[in-house]
Symmetry: C2
Subunit: 508 residues, 2 copies
């Protein structure tokens, strides 16, 4: 390494170490706000978090830092693999922000803040027209931000919408997604119709039987312990919406939520978040030494949480494993419920209006609807005033049901208040994990291990194959590194088709 590169590396590392401290503090403040901070304390704490986050941001805007980071990028071939990832990422960030003045940044923030306020009010009134102007403004500033972006060779030939997508799931652009989602619809829409007509009835009466918080806490402890969550390096509590947050190398926090009449909800929340947490707890320590521990994409992260939640958590092997414990902890629920009935209830397919409550089967269709609509908005082929109508048409077409109001329709998700391109990451995760599951099952006896409660075998495979390079590779390279194949939805569609054909007794 040349002296110049070494000096630049020192400068960059010093700033990143400082930023990590501010970030750690912000993460704790946010975790606190989501879990225990009282109602009237939120505003002051939010201000403190903004202040610290701004201190961190200022460091990154410092000219000396930018110069050092650009030097690193220019000399990236001299760096080790981890530092090179950092140099590339800092350069990408720089291209995206260099032409955006603080005044412009403030202007953008105001639009997004107003969109959030308007969305909240519109949702409360269940009236999309109150949000329409803001949605239009969000589209406008999204495009303006992209127009100000310094040309990035990586994005050569990308459309505006591709660039939006690229910010969330690098390389997963619209031509690829169009193909993927068309294929999903081709398989899933007719299959759903067959399922609905199958005449199979699945018992659901016990799902709403009452349980206590204490019981749900015991179950959460059991499930996290079982999965291999390291309680010395992590903790959990409750919040309105379950989430995972990494404070530091040895401190990964998750949350869950206890509903008195939905005992499965907290169980599968904790498995889902526990999956995110295992990913963090089992990532290479070098990620932290090089400050690249946050570079996993959302799609990659979601592939892991859904691997644990769905591929493992809703499998026959897992249900067989936990059934006795479920009976022991929730005797008043499970007294007259068989293992098979629990398995079937966990895999009930039921078209519904709310994405966050959707089952494994229909979830992808919810995402496709959002993707298709945002793509049209950005392309200018769907006037914002028609978004609500289009939403309802698509629910009818793909899921066979229609919202009776905007709150359970187009206004249900907050995501569009901060731009477009995020939703697909939720669906892609399932496709990634279907691909690596198929390799995993050739190498280890997944179901055999799970049935015995041997998560270590599965976790070790995940650690070596899935987790190890997740912060170093773009999603396309990463999935190819694991499976030797290009990204495809076929593994997922085959899995879904086989599993649900079996459950609903459909012909092969």
């Amino acid at each position: 390494m040349t002296e110049q590169t070494k000096k630049a590396l020192d400068t960059v590392r010093e700033v990143l170490a400082l930023q990590a401290k501010y970030q750690h503090a912000c993460n704790v403040l946010n975790y606190d706000m989501e879990t225990i901070c009282p109602e009237q304390g939120m505003e002051a704490q939010g201000e403190v978090a903004s202040f610290l986050s701004n201190e961190a941001f200022k460091l990154q805007k410092d000219e000396k830092f930018i110069e050092a980071a650009e030097t690193l990028y220019a000399n990236r071939e001299e760096l080790d693999e981890f530092d090179r990832v950092q140099a590339v990422q800092l350069h990408r960030d720089y291209l995206r922000t260099k032409n955006i003045t603080p005044e412009k940044q403030m202007e953008f923030s105001l639009v997004y803040n107003k969109a959030f306020v308007d969305w909240t009010a519109a949702r409360k009134a269940s009236d999309f027209s109150l949000f329409a102007d803001s949605l239009e403004a969000v589209d406008k500033v999204g495009k303006e931000s992209i127009a100000l972006r310094e040309e990035d060779p990586e994005e050569k030939g990308y459309s505006v919408f591709d660039k939006m997508l690229n910010d969330y799931e690098r390389g997963m652009i619209s031509s690829r997604l169009d193909e993927t989602f068309e294929r999903c619809k081709e398989v899933l829409v007719p299959l759903l119709q067959k399922i609905m007509k199958s005449g199979k009835t699945i018992r659901t009466d016990f799902l709403s039987r009452e349980v206590t918080d204490e019981q749900q806490k015991r179950m959460s402890d059991y499930l996290l312990e079982l999965m291999g969550f390291d309680f010395k390096r992590g903790a959990y509590t409750t919040s309105e919406h379950p989430f995972t947050s990494g404070m530091a190398r040895d401190d990964i926090r998750v949350t869950t939520h206890y509903y008195p009449t939905m005992f499965l909800s907290s169980m599968y929340s904790i498995i889902h978040e526990g999956g995110h947490a295992l990913f963090e707890q089992l990532q290479p320590g070098e990620n932290y030494d090089h400050f690249i521990e946050y570079y996993k994409t959302l799609g990659i992260h979601e592939s892991v949480s859904r691997f644990y939640e769905n591929r493992i958590g809703r499998s026959r092997a897992f249900v067989h494993l936990i059934y006795p414990k479920v009976c022991e902890i929730f005797p008043q629920v499970m007294g007259d419920v068989s293992e098979e009935e629990l398995y079937l209830a966990l895999n009930l397919v039921e078209p519904s209006l709310i994405r966050t409550e959707a089952d494994e089967f229909t979830y992808t269709l919810h995402i496709i609807i959002r993707y298709e609509i945002e793509k049209e908005i950005v392309a200018g082929t769907l006037p914002v005033r028609d978004v609500q109508r289009r939403w309802n048409e698509k629910y009818k077409e793909y899921l066979g049901i229609e919202p009776s109001n905007d709150r359970e329709g187009v206004l249900q998700d907050v995501h569009w208040t901060s731009g477009f391109g995020y939703f697909p990451t939720y669906a892609i995760g399932n496709m990634y994990n279907a691909m690596y599951y198929n390799r995993m099952k050739n190498e280890i006896d997944v179901e055999g291990a799970i049935e015995k409660g041997d998560f270590a075998t599965v976790n070790n495979w995940m650690k070596e194959n899935v987790f190890k390079k997740a912060d170093r590779l773009a999603p396309g390279e990463w999935i190819k590194d694991i499976t030797g194949r290009e990204f495809t939805p076929e593994d997922f569609l085959t899995y879904i088709t086989e599993k649900y054909s079996e459950i609903y007794g459909l012909e092969g």
Copy 2:
């Protein structure tokens, strides 16, 4: 106000506002570490808290800030009452730190850190000799720090020990404490002997009956609600040692601890911490506007928490109020326990070796022992090697019992690892509240209100009389402002004598 003062005030306020943000973040990080942070996450989070705390400290060491603060002090007659308190306090701090270089400060810190490490090891080995050298070093740096202190006119004629005491409970110097504690011993030691010989037996068998966390949580909710704790402006959870921490004007946090076989422990912890919290929740908002909300002394704060814990919480009226609820929440404990038996158990007098577990009666004697010993150490009349012997002698003399090892003797408290002068604040609190209770009961029907569960009447009186000026007045002025009288232990001694003579059937 002159232009110069106005400018100085702006500068000071700007820095204090920034410091308050850092302090808020540190308080949240610390609360998190005490309540949920996993074992292996502690170190990293401690480093982040130190970093932020140091950022705040740097602001205070800035020359422009010091100049502005000193200008304010010089022109303090131009300021409003709140800003004047701030100016005086900043000047006091300045006199204490101006001659202490960062290197000297570091040297002191190392001594205190080593003392903590040695104390921990000594306590583990239950061997005072392992801590003796560090205790001597703590005495030495304490004196060095005082010697470096810029002459403060307020401390004219003060001994070194007086100056140490003055840092914790302003104006409460040794001549006053000697007199106070001599008088306490004169009354309490013979009275304790009479109690021990009274032959009265108090039922304690039910105190160790098993309860669940869930039950204790219900009880904690009930008690905080009852006391008037504002849950929109505060929250609670569990920690190893219960404590209270103010994050912001509208965010006061407390903690408690659930022991399965000590149900009274969490009840009286929550009442004690709830008392601290009410003090914070009901203080004037102006304190926050002027950044003086932390200027209550420890003795003043402790007077309030012990007022709620002991004067209210262990009174017949309160026991009458809560008895039905205690029976309802802990049926397996209370099935065969009468209201009178609960009252008596709450007021059991039993000399014990551990201060933190002492009852209301013997607590003061534990403090007096520590005070007398630290006074002798500072005076140089008690060689450190003899501290353990002196400790055991005094326990024998005042409480009639003797430690069988150092862990339950001289090594039980952490306080001496950071210097001398802290302990008396714990005993003085009871004397303050006895004085203001005597005025309160002339103005409102305290017992009548409590029996009805009407805490608002009591809290309002406390707010107007006790809380209002607690951050603006030195303790001596404050107690005189409330009661019209000079500080005295007589009210406390009369209360104790009457209450326990009645309970133990002693002659008047």
